[in-house]
């Protein structure tokens, strides 16, 4: 029992030690890709192709004064960024990377992911409240309304997957896609999930909680130094998390159709699929404008929710009829 426990702890440590630098590198990847798509260079000075830019940024951010405003609520102010990063990192525990790698085969893995996603809201909301400043408070309130709304049909959109595979266990969901990825029958569910995922990680075009043009920096207006870096890290980690979940739920995880699966190891396929979605997230940021806040909520409740419900209903009917 003991060696097993130590092995698990080692696995967790390696995963965290890999995830955090990857998330930091993602910041550079994003800036570089945006640069290319906008016909300019982007950061290309530090190291080969500028790949060490994130390291330089990290050193800079560590050297800055970590200021806690005297008018803030100290407890909550310090706690908020930690909650965000911890919740996202916890979610990675249930993701099956390959047939052998994966921290936990929790039999409610999907529910665990949804629970952690819904707890991550507190990070943003509490940050907005604890800062005790108007911009931050507005950002926090926007985040609360947005996340609670989009969470509803994020849960509904994956229920089609649960219906078809009959399990909440993410590893079993992947294995159930051996004969064909679920995207074939769950395209609508996937679209709703992806949109909700973008809103949950509050990336553009759904970054209204931190809309720079209206709210300075939204919920993290008062944050600086390491605590700001934690928010940043949480955002990029959740981009990777949503990408990984899309791959696991709809694109067969590490599985590939028969001629392709021998070309590369499963882990590489999994990472390639995740990278595809990460690049999609980045491309979205460069190409879409930001909606107004009431448009965002109306879109959620009046368009996405009915679509998610309809998808669930049709999937259930087809399942009962024996078509799927």
């Amino acid at each position: 029992m003991m060696p097993e426990m130590i092995w698990k702890l080692l696995e967790i440590t390696i995963m965290i030690a890999l995830l955090i630098p990857i998330a930091a590198t993602l910041v550079w990847v994003e800036r570089r890709m945006i640069g290319i798509w906008q016909d300019r260079h982007g950061p290309n000075r530090v190291g080969p192709f500028g790949i060490l830019q994130s390291l330089a940024d990290l050193l800079k951010i560590l050297g800055k004064e970590d200021w806690i405003p005297p008018f803030s609520d100290r407890l909550v102010f310090i706690l908020a960024p930690v909650i965000g990063a911890v919740c996202v990192l916890m979610s990675f525990a249930v993701i099956p990377f390959t047939p052998d790698i994966g921290v936990s085969d929790l039999n409610i893995g999907l529910l665990f992911f949804l629970a952690m996603a819904s707890l991550a809201v507190y990070s943003v909301v509490l940050a907005g409240w604890a800062s005790n400043s108007k911009y931050a408070l507005l950002g926090g309130m926007r985040a609360a309304a947005q996340t609670v709304s989009y969470e509803v049909f994020m849960g509904l959109s994956v229920m089609g997957v649960v219906l078809l595979t009959g399990t909440f266990n993410l590893r079993e969901i992947v294995l159930a896609q051996t004969d064909g990825w679920l995207i074939q029958s769950q395209f609508v569910g996937f679209s709703v999930f992806l949109i909700a995922g973008i809103a949950e990680s509050h990336r553009l075009p759904f970054d209204l909680p931190e809309a720079e043009t209206e709210l300075t920096a939204g919920f993290h207006t008062e944050y600086s130094g390491l605590k700001f870096a934690l928010f940043f890290l949480g955002e990029y980690l959740s981009v990777m998390l949503i990408s990984a979940m899309s791959v696991v739920l709809f694109f067969g995880g590490w599985l590939m159709p028969s001629p392709l699966d021998t070309w590369l190891p499963p882990l590489v396929w999994f990472i390639l699929k995740i990278l595809f979605f990460v690049f999609f997230f980045i491309l979205l940021r460069t190409s879409l404008p930001r909606p107004r806040f009431d448009q965002l909520l109306a879109f959620g409740w009046k368009v996405m929710l009915p679509i998610a419900l309809l998808n669930l209903l049709v999937t259930a009917a087809l399942r009962l009829g024996g078509v799927l």
Binding site: M1, E4, M5, K8, L9, I12, P70, F71, D73, R74, L75, V76, I78, L79, V86, A93, V103, S104, L106, N107, I108, L111, F112, L114, A115, A117, S118, L119, V121, Y122, V125, L126, G128, W129, N132, L137, G140, M141, A144, A145, T147, V148, E151, V152, G155, F168, D294
Partner: protein, 175 residues
């Protein structure tokens, strides 16, 4: 036998955390801090459910109560500016004693959860007596059907009332 006993120990630990946090909810002076304690209390109850072999109930407890309903509470508190005045008056020197409590309780829960999930021996013990989502569904739509229907009526009434209040009064209002 020893691992079963340790499950019991973990259960009582989580239950104690829930009770302490609930007491702090009703005795606290700062609204938002009280809400934070309430979140921790609900998370502790979820861990209790998980340890009793009901992971589905535990997941829903976190998603519905801690993740959605309490966020709405916090939203309302923020919107009406409750709790901010007390924060202004609170001297900063007392800050330390304020934040030790919830952080300590939350950390205990986190350690417990990681311990249970990471320890395959304990997980095996749990799997022996598990109540899965299928059984929950069969119970809800079997013996407890009437209760489910009645609560859905209640929710529908709430929805209609909410729609009534939210309806714009004049046609020229919001688009």
């Amino acid at each position: 036998m020893s691992s079963l006993a340790s499950i019991e120990g973990l259960f009582y630990l989580a239950a104690t955390i829930a009770i302490v946090a609930s007491l702090k909810v009703v005795t606290g002076k700062n609204t938002v801090h009280a809400l934070l304690y309430l979140v921790i209390s609900l998370l502790a109850v979820a861990v209790c459910f998980y340890l009793m072999g009901a992971p589905f109930a535990a997941g829903l407890e976190v998603i519905v109560y801690a993740g959605a309903i309490l966020v709405l509470f916090v939203f309302a508190v923020m919107m009406f500016g409750l709790g901010i005045d007390e924060t202004h008056n609170a001297p900063q020197s007392r800050g330390l004693s304020l934040w030790v409590g919830p952080v300590f309780l939350g950390l205990l829960l986190l350690i417990e959860l990681i311990f249970v999930i990471g320890n395959s021996d304990l997980s095996l013990q749990l799997n022996n007596q598990i109540v899965d989502s299928k059984q929950v569904g069969m119970l809800l739509y079997g013996p407890y059907l009437l209760a489910v229907e009645i609560s859905s009526f209640l929710l529908l009434a709430g929805l209609v009332a909410g729609y009534h209040y939210a309806k714009p009064e004049s046609r020229g209002g919001r688009l």
